[in-house]
Amino acid sequence: MSSDPNTATEAGSGLTEMAARAVDVVKVYGSGPTEVRALDGVSVEFPKGRFSAIMGPSGSGKSTLMHCLAGLDRISSGRIWIGDVDLSTLGERQLTRLRRDQVGFVFQTFNLLPTLSAAENIELPLAIARRKPDRAWLDRVVDTVGLRDRLRHRPAELSGGQQQRVAAARALASKPEIIFADEPTGNLDSHSSAELLQFMRRSVDEFGQTIVMVTHDPNAAAHADRVLFLTDGRIVDEMAGPTAEGVLDRMKALGA
């Protein structure tokens, strides 16, 4: 890890080692006097098989960064790769397919379709792609999140924690290159939060999954391998092997 994360990409050698990369990413909203630079030259790499957390105060651009990395939003300049694919070369349709096949999502709320059962929600990306699910893999995922007995239930019949675990299982189901989690524990009590985070940790450790999580909770960030700190659209700091206290101190230092 470089001490200055904004120059880290200069190495650039091991493309296959990175699940996602961003180089000099700028995202501008509006124009003229109302112009807002949500991302102001961000360069960052997410190595495969690692659990990264992105932290920062409100309006720091952490959600925007995640949306751009995930192909949900277009950037103003710079480049982003998912695996070997340069997102700027993709049309709307290819981008959609990339999200379907290469990216997993866990949002803060409303992760599940109310009309589908838990099992159907887990298989949703596969069903969209009309791909045959890998049964053995799905069984393993379901057992890991501990939802075996809830598979036939509708989201309305599940607790908040269970719903988030279904969402996490869905993100894993298609074995994506990378999973983006946007404040996944934001609406959960501490017990459910811990369960979900442990599950995410295990999927990195046991399945080699790459996860990027945006959070403002130091306890959540402590489950990651490293934490990136974002302020005013720039990556200002990075911490490896974080602890909740360490993260909290760093946040205080950043004036969050």
Binding site: R93, T96, R99, R100, D101, F110, L112, L113, L116
Partner: protein
């Protein structure tokens, strides 16, 4: 509160536009109908004001029959009356006039036969003011002598006739050829409301129009200084109460009124279709407001939290509907005027020239249209508005719960059941019981049944959409599966949307079944009861000359010829219609299943009566019944036969021709039935019939197969017209699907965002919306088909006595309707689908 309401309206322009569209379409149909018929009426008012301009007083016999259909039937006045009128003090000039049937034949030998308006023959006398407002074009003169004729300018121009040309004209009697000596116009128009006119001098008219020694009316010009009302009274005193004496103005009003009576049927028919459109529109409005209230639950609860009373919430929702209703109704009146102008153009294209400048917009049209638009909207939005008042303030704080259960409150189930039962009772009573206003009862019953099914439909919407969506879920994979789940998640919404289409499809399939059954029944009845080889009927809707039957009888190849005439009569004050037949010939040509007596016994006079009528009146064979005819008043006519099969002749009374000839002023045939002599080949007999009919281009000769085909063609033509008129209701229902989808998408925006985020392609989103629309459309179609089939069955049963003996379901056609409904669903999904596929994923995910 008002400001909040208006803001909410402005914020949802699409929703408002869609709701308004349903009202606009329905109201425009109502307004268009009134504008069209009012315009036509005012045209006729003007026309008759023109034709009676020079007439101060008119003398005629009192009408025997106030018919709802067709012209009034009056007995002629004797020619001698003219002298008595002339002697009245204050009469400057009096002139008898005659009018009747005269069919002009064009240069190609084809009759100039407008569809609907009559082909008139009329006398032209020396008193120019009394010739029906006709003015000669320069270069012409009035007819004088037995071979001279004038005609209306439109017919002359259209058929290329010039003064000096020879013109062949058909009459009740033999056809004749005349020399055209003049062309006439009427004020600023060139024809009489589409009718053709041939004018003759008075003696010729009396001869060819079958009025020897009599006139239809006597018209009078008053002397200088004598008021027409005063002169009328003097003439009335002179001629006695047997005659009706009117001023010219009264005559114009009276004539216009009798035309208006004929038009009123047309008005009613169009208004029925307008009513269907509004009924469907009401479902759409109800559904839209229900969804809107559900989506605004939070907002309404917040208002309640802040102290808004229930009444204020109610007012808020009703105000929204009121604003929409007023705007839409006003717009509907505008569209209705355009519709009327368009229809008038259509009439022009059909040869019915409706002259006169602008359209007639009566205050009544505006009032009725506004009231109907407002009432339908308010009634339809009342239930959702009341539901809005039941939103508890605490709902504002709860997590929003969109979606509902499939269960209905018991009150609604009971209410729906009561409506449905009432509908069945009214329908069946109207069809099978003996009641006076059966048509309105049947209509009410049908409407209640549709409403009842609409109210109860949420009960079956979930299983029905599930079943219909099953193949889609299998075939279309995920989009199909989600479409099915979406259609099933709000049974009430799906049901109300489908119900709108159900109404249209129920009526369409009912009409299709009725049409098919009529055709099949006709075929069967003809095979069973008719042994005639040929049937001769009018090619326009006018009866034709009795001369034809006479010529047919002269052909040696033809064994039996039976004329059939039609006419009105009164029995105990009630108007009835009879057919007159040659009893001996009839017996050989048509089997009416005589139960007692014999048609043959009627040869010297008498009537045959249908068995149920005999039973209802407690009559018996041999007794006389008091029949009042246009000529000669009440006569005691003996019942000579009782018959049990009226499927072909569709009348309760068969009079002998002998009686008919003395009881009616005009002797024209509506049908002639012909049977070939034994051993004559079909070719030879056909040639004989064609030979006899050669002089009568206004009739068509058909053998049984051709007749069956012509009935089938007529039914098809009628069906097409009804389909077109019902099309409006179906368009509204499709708009309803668009509306429901648009509102659903608005409320499912987060789901759509999620689906797009995890990789659903736009095409798949569109596909999902499309299949949901198809499920709703097909669900409505299937329900409609079931109800329509029931309606068809019930009505066919009820019409069994009058010839609809076969109940036949056009399965292929009904399946086609379902397919078309599915396609309509696909079309309805285009815009909402595009909208759903283009949502901004990030904003959708962030949406509350």
């Amino acid at each position: 509160m008002l400001r909040a309401t208006l803001k909410s309206l402005a914020a949802h322009k699409l929703r408002m536009a869609m709701t308004a569209l349903a009202i606009v379409l329905g109201v425009s149909f109502v307004a268009g109908t009134y504008v069209l018929t009012d315009t036509m009426n005012s045209v006729f008012d003007d026309l008759f004001a023109t034709t009676t301009k020079g007439v101060d007083v008119d003398v005629r016999t009192r009408a025997t029959f106030e018919q709802t259909q067709g012209p009034e039937v009056r007995e002629p006045v004797p020619a001698a009356l003219l002298e008595r009128v002339r002697q009245v003090d204050g009469v400057q000039a009096a002139q008898g006039s005659v009018s009747g049937y005269a069919q002009i034949v064009d240069k190609a030998g084809k009759p100039v036969a407008p569809m609907g308006p009559p082909t008139l023959g009329q006398s032209f006398g020396p008193v120019a003011d009394l010739n029906g407002g006709a003015q000669l074009r320069p270069g012409g003169r009035l007819p004088a002598g037995p071979d001279q004729v004038v005609m209306d300018a439109r017919t002359a121009d259209k058929s290329g006739f010039r003064v000096g040309d020879r013109v062949r004209i058909l009459f009740e009697g033999p056809p004749r050829t005349f020399t055209l000596v003049g062309v006439v116009t009427f004020g600023d128009v060139d024809n009489l409301g589409g009718a053709t006119l041939a004018g003759f001098d008075i003696p010729t008219a009396q001869e060819v129009l079958n009025r020897r020694g009599s006139f239809d009316e006597i018209q009078v010009v008053a002397a200088e200084g004598v008021g027409s009302a005063e002169l009328r009274d003097r003439i009335q005193a002179q001629v006695g109460s047997r005659y009706e004496v009117l001023t010219g103005q009264q005559l114009a009003e009276d004539t216009a009124k009798s035309i208006q009576r004929n038009l009123s049927f047309f008005t009613t028919a169009l208004l029925v279709f307008a009513g269907v459109a509004l009924f469907v529109g009401a479902f759409l409005i109800y559904n839209t407001f229900s969804i809107v209230v559900a989506q605004r639950t939070r907002e309404l609860a917040l208002l309640r939290c802040m102290g808004a009373s229930r009444r204020q919430v109610l007012t808020s929702v009703l105000t929204e509907s009121l604003v929409v209703a007023v705007l839409a109704s006003v717009l509907g009146i505008g569209v209705g005027i355009l519709l009327a102008i368009g229809l008038r153009g259509l009439f022009g294209a059909l040869g019915i020239d409706l002259p006169g400048g602008g359209v007639t917009l009566l205050p009544r049209t505006i009032v009725v249209s506004l009231v109907v638009g407002l009432l339908v909207t308010l009634v339809a939005s009342l239930v959702p508005a009341l539901k809005a008042t039941r939103v508890a303030p605490i709902a504002a704080l709860r997590e929003q719960l969109v979606g509902e259960r499939g269960t209905l409150r018991p009150g609604r189930v009971i209410g729906g059941g009561v409506i449905l039962a009432g509908g069945f009772a009214a329908l069946l009573a109207g069809l099978f019981a003996k009641v006076s206003n059966e048509l309105s009862l049947v209509g009410l019953g049908a409407a209640l049944i549709l409403l009842g099914v609409g109210v109860l439909s949420p009960l079956i919407a979930r299983p029905l959409s599930g079943a219909l969506g099953w193949p889609m879920a299998r075939l279309r994979n995920l989009p199909g599966r989600l479409a099915r789940a979406n259609a099933m998640r709000n049974p009430r919404r799906t049901a109300a949307t489908a119900a709108a289409l159900m109404i249209g499809l129920a009526l369409v399939s009912f009409v299709a079944i009725l049409g098919r059954s009529l055709k099949a029944s006709t075929d069967q009845v003809l095979d069973r009861t008719v042994s005639a080889d040929y049937q001769i009927s009018s090619s326009s809707f006018q009866p034709f000359s009795a001369e034809l039957a006479k010529r047919l009888r002269e052909q040696p190849e033809l064994a039996t010829v039976s004329s059939v005439r039609q006419g009105p009569f009164k029995l105990n004050g009630q108007s009835r219609t009879l057919f007159a037949v040659d009893p001996v010939a009839m017996e050989q040509l048509v089997d009416v299943d005589v139960r007692s007596g014999s048609l043959r016994d009627m040869a010297a006079g008498g009537v045959a009566v249908y068995k149920d009528v005999v039973a209802d009146n407690g009559w018996r064979l041999g007794q006389t019944i008091p029949m009042e005819f246009p000529r000669g008043g009440v006569r005691q006519v003996p019942i000579k036969a009782i018959y049990a099969d009226k499927t072909l002749i569709s009348t309760d009374y068969l009079l002998s021709l002998a009686d008919y000839q003395t009881a009616y002023p005009d002797q024209q045939d509506v049908f002639v039935l012909v049977k070939a002599a034994p051993g004559v080949s079909p070719q030879a007999s056909r040639a004989a019939v064609d030979r006899a009919a050669a002089d009568f281009p206004n009739v068509k000769v058909q053998d049984q197969a051709e007749y069956k085909k012509s009935v089938s063609d007529q039914v098809n033509q009628l069906l097409t017209m009804i389909y077109v008129l019902l099309g409006l209701a179906i368009v509204i229902a499709v708009v309803g699907i668009v509306n429901t989808l648009a509102l659903s998408i608005y409320e499912r925006v987060r789901e759509l965002g999620l689906l797009r985020a995890v990789g659903m392609e736009r095409a798949q989103v569109r596909s999902m919306v499309r299949w949901e629309a198809v499920i709703m459309a097909v669900a409505g179609a299937v329900l409609g088909l079931v109800i329509g089939t029931f309606f068809g069955w019930a009505v066919v049963r009820a019409l069994r006595d009058v010839g609809t003996t076969v109940f036949q379901v056009p399965v292929g056609q009904l399946l086609l309707f379902v397919l078309l409904a599915a396609l309509a669903g696909v079309a309805a999904a285009v815009l909402p689908g595009r909208r759903a596929s283009r949502i901004d994923v990030l904003r959708a995910l962030a949406a509350e």
